[in-house]
Structures are given as structure tokens and as C-alpha cells.
Amino acid sequence: MILTPNILARLVAIVIGGVVLQLSFFSQVALFHVSPDLLPALVVVLGLLGGSLTGAVCGFSAGFLLDCLLIVPLGGGSLVLLGTGYLAGLFRERFEIHSALVPPLLCMALTLFAELGFGAVKVMLGFDAPVSTLVVRDVLLKSIFAFFLGWGLYAGLRRVLRPALVEEATVRRRGRRRRPRLPRAERGRRPRAMRA
């Protein structure tokens, strides 16, 4: 990812917008009694577009902001989401994304990872209660929701971050190179048909 001040501002806005949207909307709606979790999918998409470092930093920031706004011990959300973003970025660096299904499937798998990670953090902080089997249903449904969220997020964020994407820049350069070069005298003039 080509990081410019403009792109950094966009990333900050995406992370803040994602956290506020999660807390104000997604956490408070229920589909089949389960609230969708946007943040792991968002971090996965950022990792896929920007690489492991971008994924990790965005994940850490999103987790930190989430913990701050929920007034819970800091660090838990950061740890889980930075791992999620890093893994997504690592996938992008190691493998080619051949199919349009890869990002949503990765969102689904890494949301499952993130939910288990949140569970592990909870256990680490002290856990003294029976666990209902409904947790399994909730976690699986959250992963399925993440599939659809990831689909939309990948398409949307790819468009928003297009100027910063390395492969997009390469494609643009190739496109420019393929265009036939006009003689110096013809440059800047409209084609004959258009003039008529």
C-alpha cells in the first residue's frame, strides 16, 4: 500500500467509522438472535488490501478504540484484532487472490478466529461461569454474517483505497503503456471523427 497523508486520513476515518458503526448499529441489531461483528471483517479487508503491517496497525487501533469506548480493560481487543489483521495481510503476501470468493471466505474464517480469540482473552482475564452451547451457534452465525459483510466491505474499501493499492497502480501504468503514442504534432488534438 502506498501510504500518503490522504490515504492515512482515509484509513483513520475507516477505522473510526467502523468502530462507531459497530457499537451504534451492528451490536444493537439481531438477526436470528445474533449481532453481526463488523470489526474483524473490516480489519481482514484492510489487511488484504494493505498487507500485514497495515492490517496489524489498523487492527490494533480498532481494538484500542473499541476498548476505550466500551470502558473495558485496554489491550484485549487490540491483541485479537491485530492478530486478525496481520494474518489477513500475511495471506495476501503469500498467496494470490484468484477468486472473488477469497476475501469473504477469509473474513468468515478470521472472524471465527477473532471470536475464539476474544474468548481466550476473557479466559485470560478470569472466567468463572458455565458456557452455554449457544455460544457455538453465535460464533458460527457471526462468521457467516462476516462472509456477507466481507463481500461488501472488500468491494467498497477497494474503491476508497484505490489510489494507494500497488497492483491497481501497476494496472494503471500498464494501461497507460499499452495506449499507442501519437506523433508529437497530433498530441492534444481530438481524433478526426470527434472533430467532425
Partner: protein
């Protein structure tokens, strides 16, 4: 060049992981620190605006969910209505008797909220996104008189307690959170126990440590016990409604000394709540 990049990437990753663990270690067990208070103060107006702006969209999505759910709920409500009709006759008499007794002893309290508490109405503006933490954030804080450990109720009954406070917001740990434990009693039998959650299922709480010699029946109501021992006192005032017993098998009562309780309040869909400030906790 590539090696340098990899080294830098690993260094940043290590720094972030160490940072997360340091933050966890430093902030664990504390209510709220300066950073959280600052961030919360900056973002709470934005959250409030987003909360109000997104309410129609939330209602729309929840409407779909409720429609799916309505069919099953309809049958259950029919059964409950029948049982409620039978109880209503007895309750009317009990209410009248209760009113007379209240007047006799000079109690002028209208509802379940005991005197000495000042209810502060709050709106839920955020909710923990994972299934492992049952917390909500409300839009009142220390500026409104809210303190840590204040009990929080909805229109249906107890929902939790304040766990952390900033100037304008507060975190409420719901009774469905794994860290929650409420001393409760069953009415009218008076059997006492500790109400703990079953993580992942906010509609099922477990009333534990019951006296195995006393029988508890399905449908009996559970309220806060509100104990007091010398200078120590429960965080919860007595007789706040919590829920009703849904499962009370003899085997479970004798072997594990526990019964299952469904909370009156729908902990998944909280909008307006009341924080009971003040009180006389020791």
C-alpha cells in the same frame, strides 16, 4: 532492502503485541483510566448522534428478526396468557392487601425501587460486540451522579450493575456477563442463592447454592436478596425483580443445588434503562 522491510515489519508487530499485553496488565482491574475517559468524552457525542441516526435502520433489521421469531413466541404467549389469567385473580387480591399493608406501615413507595435511591434514566449507546462480554455503555456518567456498583434496571427488572464510569458515559455489566453474581431469593418461599449466568445464553441464568431441602417450583419469581452483614451490604437493594424459574428438576436441585431462571428483562434488546444512584451501600 527486502530483509530490512521484513525486520521492520516484525519489529512493529512485536511492539504492538507487547503494547497490547502492557495495556492489559496496566488497565486490568481498574474502572476507567484517563485515556479511556478522554477518548470516551471525545467520541460520546458522535456515538449519541450515530445511535439516534441509525435507530430507524436498527428497528428495521430488528423487525425482520422479530417477525421470524414471532411465530414461535405466539404459541408460548398463548400458554403464558392462560397461566397469567389464572394468577391475575389471586394477584388482584394480593395487590389490594399489599396496598393496605403499605398504607398501614406508612410506606409510600410506588414501585419496586426502594427509597433512598434516585433513578437516572439512560439510553444504551453501545454494546459489546462479542458473545463473551455482556456489557453495554449508557449515556450517563459521573456528571449525572452515577457511581461504580450502582444497580441498573429496565422496565422489567434488574439488568446489571455499573462497572466503570467516565464523565458522560458508564459501562454496565449485565447479569448475563460471566463476571456477574447476584445474591437472589425466590419468592414467596424465601430460598436464597447466587444467580450466575450461562455464558452465551442471556435468556438462561442459574440460581446456584440453593438449600437442597427446600423445594423450588417452576414459575416462581426471583428477586434480589439485598443482604446486609454488619457494615457490609449487597450492591443490590432487596426485592428488585430479576426473573422467573423456568427449570427446577428435583435431580438438579438435589445433586447440584441449582435451578434455571429466565430474566424478566430482554438483555439482548435494551434501549432505555435506569441507573439507581445514591442508596445506602456500606
Amino acid at each position: 532492502m527486502y530483509r530490512k522491510q521484513v525486520r521492520r515489519r516484525r519489529a512493529v508487530l512485536a511492539l504492538l503485541i507487547v503494547g497490547s499485553f502492557v495495556l492489559l496488565t496496566v488497565t486490568y482491574g481498574q474502572g476507567s483510566d484517563g485515556v479511556q475517559r478522554g477518548v470516551s468524552t471525545i467520541f460520546s457525542p458522535l456515538q449519541s448522534v450515530a445511535d439516534r441516526a441509525l435507530k430507524p435502520a436498527r428497528d428495521l433489521v430488528n423487525w425482520f428478526d422479530e417477525t421470524f421469531d414471532a411465530k414461535g413466541r405466539n404459541e408460548r404467549l398463548h400458554d403464558e396468557l392462560e397461566a397469567a389469567r389464572e394468577q391475575a385473580v389471586g394477584s388482584q387480591a394480593a395487590l389490594a392487601e399489599n396496598e393496605q399493608l403499605r398504607n398501614l406501615v406508612g410506606l409510600d413507595r410506588g414501585g419496586a425501587i426502594p427509597s433512598g435511591y434516585d433513578p437516572v434514566t439512560a439510553r444504551v449507546i453501545a454494546r459489546s460486540p462479542t458473545v463473551w462480554f455482556a456489557d453495554v455503555t449508557v449515556d450517563v456518567g459521573s456528571g449525572d451522579g452515577v457511581e461504580v456498583d450502582d444497580p441498573v434496571v429496565s422496565g422489567d427488572g434488574l439488568i446489571g450493575t455499573v462497572a466503570a464510569v467516565t464523565g458522560s458515559t458508564a459501562r454496565v455489566t449485565l447479569i448475563a456477563d460471566s463476571s456477574s453474581a447476584v445474591s437472589a431469593k425466590i419468592v414467596p418461599s424465601g430460598v436464597q442463592g447466587v444467580l450466575k449466568p450461562s455464558v452465551g445464553d442471556p435468556g438462561d441464568l442459574v440460581l446456584d447454592f440453593l438449600d437442597s431441602e427446600k423445594r423450588v417450583g417452576k414459575g416462581q419469581s426471583v428477586v434480589t436478596a439485598g443482604w446486609r452483614a454488619e457494615e457490609l451490604e449487597s450492591n443490590y437493594p432487596p426485592n428488585l425483580p430479576i426473573g422467573e424459574v423456568t427449570e427446577a428438576s428435583l435431580v438438579e436441585q438435589e445433586a447440584q443445588q441449582q435451578v434455571h431462571v429466565r430474566p424478566f428483562a430482554d438483555l439482548r434488546e435494551l434501549d432505555l434503562v435506569q441507573v439507581l444512584t445514591g442508596g445506602s451501600r456500606g
